[in-house]
Amino acid sequence: MNEHANPLCAALLAGAVLALGGAAAAETRILNVSYDPTREFYRDYNQLFATWWQEQGHEPVAIEQSHGGSGAQARAVIDGLGAQVVTLALASDIDAIAARSDDLSPDWQAALPHNSAPYTSTIVFLVRAGNPKGIRDWGDLTAKGVQVVTPNPKTSGGARWNFLAAWAWALRGNGGDEEAARSYMAELFAHVPVLDTGARGATTTFAQRGVGDVLLAWENEAFLALEELGPDRFDIVVPSVSILAEPPVALMPGNQGSEEQRAASQAYLEHLYSPAAQALAARHYYRAWDTSAAAAEDLARFPDLELVTIAEFGGWAEAQPRFFGDGGIFDQIYEE
């Protein structure tokens, strides 16, 4: 209860910092409140956009980034962090903002193409080099002696995608029998020795601490782990079925100070769909919609697999309370 500062304090502090920054320069500012694994992507995209925006004959724009756990970031925005745009891990976090502030309309997700998700990802397995436990698909995760590392779906957006991907596989394998899917999930979590609070923490536990045989991870996070920690230490295993993870973006209409700022924020989000930005997303291991400008070697990294969508779960508005709400399916697994 010490490290977790009051969100209100955080918001006030951030507000003060922004106010100071605003007084120092007259250029247009955009604060992008995002989640953890997008740091590298947005660092590059912000440069790309700033250059492009000025080429269009506008005033220079300065973009500030804030990263953290997706849920905690959503709470900071609700408590008053003045974001011009939010780019979070899942729609239910932006739904939470829409439900708790008047600024954002409930149908925000229709504002931009592809459910306002300019780039997507999926959930794959990261295993130790050579795949010593022979893990090929979801069914192998509950074999005797296999330990699975995944973060806690209560505190991690990525872990919710993990959970739903596993559920989708179990449901298909059992002809839609929910009871069978439930018992598979209970068995799966009996093989989990550590529940970290975030995706990065789980990657560290698996890769650096040597815990577990398989890590359920964002595809982009798995590629990043390979690149950062050595391709000879891990292999990526692609399951037969996974989920199309759509990290969405939204404009916060109430936090636009001027017309210029609103125009820049709107363009900032729309330009994410441009071929150049899509190519950048592909380079940062996100699956892009428009691959016309992307490098062939970037695209070759993404294997084809069957992807279910969140729509099959009735959208996040239905899936969030049912699976991850207080007393939901995840809670029931640990109450039994």
Binding site: M1, N2, E3, G71, R75, R100, L195, T197, R209, E335
Partner: protein
């Protein structure tokens, strides 16, 4: 209650500053928590606290804090005794190192301990084959809390040991007492109030500890999930009431424990005639 006997003026100003600072920093947030609890009513409070998971998290938090503080009581007393009674090379260095847990971000301690005691870590590699699991199990939580609480016992006991005149022990010995009896009847009674204070401080500090524990605990519901983490989880669910309910439960239990310790302290002070 103005005490005119003091050589220095400023009681009125001092008290004013103290009360406003206390109100702003301590009382206001606590009052907000209590108000939130009062608004819920007993039935709703009970429904937030009634699950097995909450009970397990609270039990774990207080059990681990008690175990760690008890270990610190023994270890801290030894350390304080050695530091204040003996002169040896490197003493000042060790003395300074005792304060490190105060200064170091607890997350750093948690990560360092996890790296050492994880199954692939330096110590974990040796302990795991012996069937001893430290990181990602309850002993890991004890370890983190021992680290966090250690300076409280050492720093409260040390000045009192400095005050004990070795002549008391010599007198006790010349009167025919054994070493153990001297320790039990002469030294420990004088140290008891300070030991209890140190214990209470270490306990209070470790009950609410979050930063170091989440890295080493494993965080499995019902097994290694501490109450402060459950509060964070409830906040992630936007369930502020349930978070406040767990916070209130921790506040209540901590208050009761500190009350008992303080009573013990008053009793032990009276016994040795310090009151």
């Amino acid at each position: 209650m103005r005490r005119d006997t003091s050589a220095l003026p400023g009681f009125g100003l001092g008290l004013g500053v103290l009360l406003s600072a206390l109100a702003l920093i301590v009382l206001l947030p606590l009052a907000a928590l209590l108000a939130r609890g009062a608004a819920m009513g007993p039935a709703e409070l009970a429904s937030h606290l009634g699950s097995r998971r909450v009970a397990n998290a609270l039990a774990l938090s207080f059990r681990a804090a008690l175990v760690a503080s008890a270990a610190n009581l023994v270890f801290g007393l030894l350390l304080a005794w050695v530091l204040s009674r003996y002169r040896f090379p490197g003493r000042r260095l060790i003395d300074a190192a005792v304060d490190l847990p105060f200064a170091l971000p607890t997350a750093v301690a948690g990560i360092a301990l996890t790296a050492l005691y994880a199954p692939a870590g330096l110590f974990g590699r040796v302990l795991e084959p012996l069937g001893l699991r430290i990181a990602y199990a309850e002993p890991g939580i004890w370890l983190a809390l021992v680290f966090v609480g250690l300076p409280f016992v050492v720093r409260t006991v040390q000045p009192v040991i400095d005050e004990i005149d070795p002549e008391w022990e010599e007198a006790s010995a010349t009167l025919g007492a054994s070493r153990l009896r001297t320790l039990r009847r002469v030294v420990l009674p004088v140290l008891a109030p300070a030991l209890l204070t140190g214990f209470a401080l270490a306990l209070a500090r470790s009950v609410g500890e979050y930063g170091s524990v989440i890295f080493i605990a494993g965080n499995l519901p019902n097994l290694t999930e501490i109450a402060p983490l459950l509060i964070v989880i409830r906040l992630e669910e936007y369930n502020y009431d349930a978070a406040a309910a767990i916070g209130l439960a921790m506040l209540g239990i901590s208050f009761a424990m500190l009350f008992v310790i303080n009573s013990l302290q008053v009793w032990s002070r009276r016994r040795i005639g310090h009151a």
